[in-house]
Assembly symmetry: C2
Homo-oligomer: 188 residues x 2
DNA sequence: AAAGTTCTATACCGAGTGGTATAGTGATGG
DNA sequence: CCATCACTATACCACTCGGTATAGAACTTT
């Protein structure tokens, strides 16, 4: 692993554990076993380092979500695939998912929020497209696609956030139950 | 408004806009028109200031949620009251709600998260109690009370967070629709 | 072998960090 | 009239912040 990759890895560890603002450049280079000029050579600035980090990991996430979010007539199936895509990604890249989630809920004027905002818009757009397409088979959903995309992604992030903090298991059964509730409510 | 109150108000503004870590003590006292010893006289430390801030506002929130979360046989009614309590609180204290939400999604090792963690446990306990009591009338919910409390509060925070960022209106109709989906799913 | 390029360390910058020692201030109570 | 008290300003502390000027090492290219 070259220095560039080591810096990225250690920065992710630290940002995920204590947050972007709370971690200094000095601390990152110490954890990576290099000095500051090395970091600034590769990334230009602390913010540049963050941008590269986000770009690399979000690319993988969004690629996998895109692949899962292809509606082919069975809405439940598509939503289940999407949930499993998120769950699988979070399991292989938990630190990143934790960091990224924290940044999305950071104040709107903060560096953190501005850096991740764009990627969340993308995810939201992907899910809204699914619900728009599904209206063909579920006409009663018309006009509510936007709200459904919002609450679907919100539900996923809610469960993943609790899983990341150790409050529940991210089993296939949980995914099934959560999705079933999303589709049919709590009484069935 | 005495200096103590001014400091609290300006600190809330700044924390809500840019986050606890990103705002310095110097900046707070400048915004409040006082000097550092004044702040340290009243609050002892930056963290002490945050604790007082959280205590004061969460006390109001939890009091109102407690009042709404009294189950008397009609689950839908109780949940609607709780949603309206949250919505009303967020509308009168939006900056605080934004700040507090951001802190809850901050990394687990961060000062921010540690400071708000306790208050969220309280809210979660209140809602779980509601679902446990409702099992008397809805036996099929048995064993899922914990997950319901989680997803109910998650849904509320999801909508409030989107409202705080200007993505939707927090109308009575939205509350009704969201609750209806929570209870009966997306197909009805 | 010379020259260019990429990468990394030493040492430093000004500005800002959270926090405090000291010396007052004005109001209150004996 | 004096002492006490809550409160606040000046000036400072050691330390950390993000970022950089300079120079040398390692490796390619010519």
């Amino acid at each position: 692993m070259d220095n560039r990759a080591v810096i990225l890895a250690r920065a992710l560890d630290l940002f995920a554990a204590r947050g972007y603002d709370a971690v200094g450049v000095q601390e990152i280079v110490e954890a990576a076993g290099v000095t500051k000029p090395t970091l600034y050579h590769y990334f230009g600035s602390k913010r540049g380092l963050l941008d590269v980090l986000l770009q690399a990991h979000f690319e993988r996430l969004i690629e996998q979500v895109e692949k899962a979010a292809i509606y082919q007539g069975d809405l439940t199936l598509t939503l289940e695939k999407v949930m499993k895509a998120y769950s699988a990604f979070a399991k292989t890249d938990g630190d990143f998912y934790r960091m990224q989630l924290g940044m999305y809920f950071a104040p709107p004027e903060s560096e953190s929020f501005k850096a991740v905002y764009h990627y969340h818009e993308q995810q939201y757009a992907i899910m809204e497209r699914v619900f728009v397409q599904a209206v063909v088979n579920h006409g009663n959903m018309r006009g509510r696609q936007q709200r459904y995309a919002i609450s679907f992604l919100g539900m996923i992030n809610n469960y993943l956030s609790l899983w990341l903090n150790g409050y529940l298991e991210m089993s296939d059964k949980l995914i099934y139950d959560a999705l079933h509730q999303f589709m049919h409510g709590i009484f069935s």
